[in-house]
C-alpha cells in the first residue's frame, strides 16, 4: 500500500524534498516506516529517533498501524524556548 510522507524543517533539508510516496507492506506501523526511512536516508536516523510522529495531523504512538493514503509526518523536537 502507499502512504504519503511529508518533511518539514531539518528533515526536509536532509531529505531534500517536501514529500514523497512510500510503498509499504500492509500492517506496517509508524515504527516500521521510520526504520525504512532510516535505512534509505542514513542521516535521518538520529533525528527520527528524537521525533514524535503524526498521522493525518494527529500525534500517534509508534505502534500505530498505517492505512492506505495516510499522511505520515515525523515531528522533530520543537524549539520551545525558555519561558
Amino acid at each position: 500500500m502507499k502512504i504519503r510522507v511529508r518533511y518539514f524543517a531539518g528533515l526536509r533539508e536532509i531529505v531534500g524534498q517536501d514529500a514523497e510516496t512510500l510503498t509499504v507492506p500492509e500492517g506496517t506501523d509508524v515504527a516500521g516506516a521510520r526504520a525504512l526511512l532510516s535505512a534509505r536516508y542514513s542521516r535521518l536516523q538520529p533525528i527520527l529517533e528524537r521525533s514524535l510522529c503524526a498521522v493525518n495531523r494527529e500525534y500517534v504512538p509508534a505502534d500505530r498501524v498505517l492505512q492506505e493514503d495516510d499522511e505520515l509526518v515525523f515531528i522533530p523536537p520543537l524549539g520551545g524556548g525558555a519561558a
Binding site: 518539514f8 531539518g10 520543537l78 520551545g80
Partner: protein
C-alpha cells in the same frame, strides 16, 4: 467569536488582531508578542527562519484556544504565527486575548503561548555568525 488563527509568511499585524477581538463586553486585553532576539545560547543571531506543518499547526492551535475558552472563559482570542525569514526585532508570534476581566486574559494568554511552544509543529532555525541550526528544546 470564532478564534482568529493565522499562520502566514507576511509580517504580523497587531492592530488587526486587536480589532478582531474588540467587543463591548471586553474589559481587559492581554497581548503577548514574541520577537526575534539578537542572541541565543551564547551566540549572536543574524536572523531566524520559521517552518511549520501548517495544517496540523492550525488544528493544534485551535485545540489550545478551545481549552483556554473552557478553562478561563476566554471567548475572544486571536493567534498569529509568522513563517519564513525574520530579522531581529520582528514579531514571530502574537497572541491577543480579550475577556471581561483582566485575570482571565492573563491566565489564558500565558497558557496559550506556553502550550503552543511545546505542542504545535512550528520550528525555528537560528542563523548565527557561527552557522545555522534548527533549535530543539
Amino acid at each position: 467569536m470564532e478564534p482568529v488563527i493565522q499562520i502566514t509568511r507576511e509580517p504580523l499585524n497587531r492592530e488587526a488582531l486587536l480589532a478582531a477581538v474588540a467587543a463591548p463586553e471586553v474589559g481587559g486585553i492581554v497581548i503577548f508578542e514574541g520577537v526575534v532576539r539578537n542572541h541565543a545560547r551564547g551566540k549572536q543571531i543574524r536572523y531566524l527562519e520559521y517552518d511549520a506543518y501548517p495544517e496540523m499547526a492550525e488544528q493544534q492551535i485551535r485545540r489550545i484556544v478551545e481549552e483556554a475558552r473552557q478553562r478561563w472563559g476566554a471567548e475572544r482570542v486571536a493567534v498569529a504565527h509568522r513563517l519564513g525569514r525574520l530579522e531581529i526585532g520582528e514579531a514571530s508570534v502574537i497572541i491577543v486575548v480579550a475577556t471581561p476581566h483582566r485575570a482571565e486574559a492573563f491566565e489564558a494568554c500565558r497558557y496559550i503561548i506556553d502550550t503552543l511552544k511545546t505542542t504545535v509543529p512550528i520550528w525555528k532555525k537560528e542563523v548565527s555568525l557561527d552557522g545555522e541550526a534548527w533549535v530543539e528544546g
